[in-house]
């Protein structure tokens, strides 16, 4: 039996052993860029999705959701001015995240604006949007502004002090959950177990960028890709926590998402997941890399 004090020690070691903030700082920069891209892609159709007279009128939204979802739009006057204000605030917050300026506040602003936009029309959001909300929420509590930031520069600090990486650990666990829970959900489907799921995904036009080549429409390819996806998603749950396996699995996930990007239109989902995978890079390796690149 594992003693309670051993569990407590393992918990403390995992969540609170101090480490330099380079990983969370790199994540902050990439996340800020993705958050900006997400808003810029949303903007051209923002009035259609969020406008008082769009496909989900204010009255219909109020009737369905009322006060159940947090959104600034509930308190702002209807009209394009409010949409512009929320997107403007969002872009400002995301830009500040990239620069590392007032980092916790910027993360809070991005969380609030993302949530406001998504909640005003939840049915046009995707898994990547949900993950971005969680990422921005966890960033609020992180030390992401302690390195590679204007915050650190303005504070006149030298090398960043190692600190408890608990928010980074939660981000890593969150990413790991996404893969593992996707694996569990897929295992309930017959086509995933039989190895035909990727065939169907590549044949239906909703997500594909272009018709798959003939070789990729065969049963053997579908089985390879379907079962390969299951193995990878499972592995990124528990096995990514084994230090020796971490980088090979992260590299496999990067190849997986880049492959999806070529064949399928899942908008920013790939970019968001790749940003999340950055959290698995050791801050010590990042420090060595940066020192090697810019001695």
């Amino acid at each position: 039996m594992i003693a309670l004090h051993d569990l407590a020690a393992a918990w403390t070691a995992f969540f609170h052993t101090p480490e330099p903030p380079f990983t969370i700082a790199l994540f902050r920069i990439l996340f800020g860029l993705v958050a900006m891209a997400s808003a810029l892609l949303y903007l051209p159709h923002a009035s259609l999705w969020l406008g008082a007279e769009g496909v989900l009128s204010r009255a219909r939204w109020e009737e369905e959701y009322g006060g159940r979802l947090l959104t600034l739009f509930r308190w702002l006057p209807p009209g394009r001015g409010s949409i512009r204000a929320v997107f403007g605030l969002h872009l400002l917050g995301a830009a500040c995240l990239v620069l590392g300026l007032a980092t916790p506040l910027s993360a809070a602003v991005v969380f609030l604006t993302l949530t406001s936009i998504h909640h005003r029309h939840p049915e046009v959001t995707h898994g990547g949007d949900s993950l971005m909300r969680m990422m921005s929420f966890l960033l609020i509590f992180s030390r992401a502004g302690d390195a590679w930031s204007l915050d650190a520069m303005l504070a006149g600090a030298g090398a960043p002090t190692p600190s408890s990486p608990w928010a980074l650990r939660l981000l890593q666990l969150q990413i790991s959950f996404v893969y593992f829970q996707s694996f569990v959900a897929k295992m309930a489907g017959e086509s995933w177990r039989r190895g035909t799921a990727v065939y169907w995904v590549s044949m239906v036009s909703d997500y594909r960028r272009r018709p798959a080549p003939a070789a990729m429409r065969t049963l053997w390819w579908s089985r390879l890709a379907t079962w390969g996806t299951l193995v990878l998603e499972f592995s990124l749950g528990p096995l990514v926590w084994i230090r020796e396996w971490r980088y090979p699995l992260v590299a496999a996930a990067v190849v997986f998402h880049l492959g999806l990007e070529v064949l399928m239109n899942v908008q920013l989902f790939g970019a968001i997941m790749l940003t999340g995978l950055v959290t698995f890079i050791s801050p010590y390796d990042l420090e060595r890399l940066v020192t090697a690149l810019w001695p």
């Binding site: 989900l56 959950f177 959900a185 049963l219 908008q267 920013l268």
Partner: protein, 166 residues
């Protein structure tokens, strides 16, 4: 241990518990245990279920069309853009239309249907529209090895009419 450290550990534990338990059947012990957190978690947008193309991806090519009928009997067709017809950059920008189409077709989000009909009535107000029919058109996708066989049967279903019959 300081009060701050206890708060942080409690926050970590609650976050992990909610992430792990969210979406469990409400009659399971995990579902019952996470129930007290449901309202605040939903309000904050931190609820999560993950499962792209799960449990099974679609095996039909199905799309939404809206047919607007005017007072003069004319018919106007409206349909979201097909992602497969768009270029790389366009598909990024128009991606949410695909999500929207899937949501309108999904019976769990029925409130979107009258909202879409009302939008289309406003959009074509100058042509005196009186009725909107939402139509689902689909056909089976050939299975592995069946490609090139007979032309699939095309189906059409009017699944919503506005104004809704009383």
């Amino acid at each position: 241990m300081t009060g701050g450290a206890i708060l942080v550990d409690a926050f970590i534990a609650i976050y992990l518990f909610v992430a792990w338990s969210w979406g469990q059947p409400s009659d399971s012990w995990l579902g019952r245990a996470v129930a007290p957190f449901t309202r605040p978690v939903l309000w904050l947008g931190l609820g999560q279920t993950w499962g792209m193309f799960a449990p099974d991806p679609a095996k039909v090519e199905g799309h939404l069309t809206a047919v607007i009928t005017t007072a003069g009997g004319d018919r106007i067709e409206w349909a979201p853009p097909r992602m497969a017809d768009l270029g790389y950059g366009e598909a990024f920008r128009w991606f949410r239309h695909q999500k929207y189409e899937a949501s309108v077709l999904d019976g769990d989000t029925g409130y979107l249907r009258p909202a879409l009909a009302e939008y289309l009535l406003r959009l074509h107000a100058d042509r005196e529209p009186v009725r909107v029919d939402l139509v689902y058109r689909d056909h089976d996708v050939p299975g592995p090895g069946d490609e090139g066989s007979d032309e699939p049967e095309r189906r059409e279903l009017v699944f919503f009419t506005y104004p809704e019959p009383s």
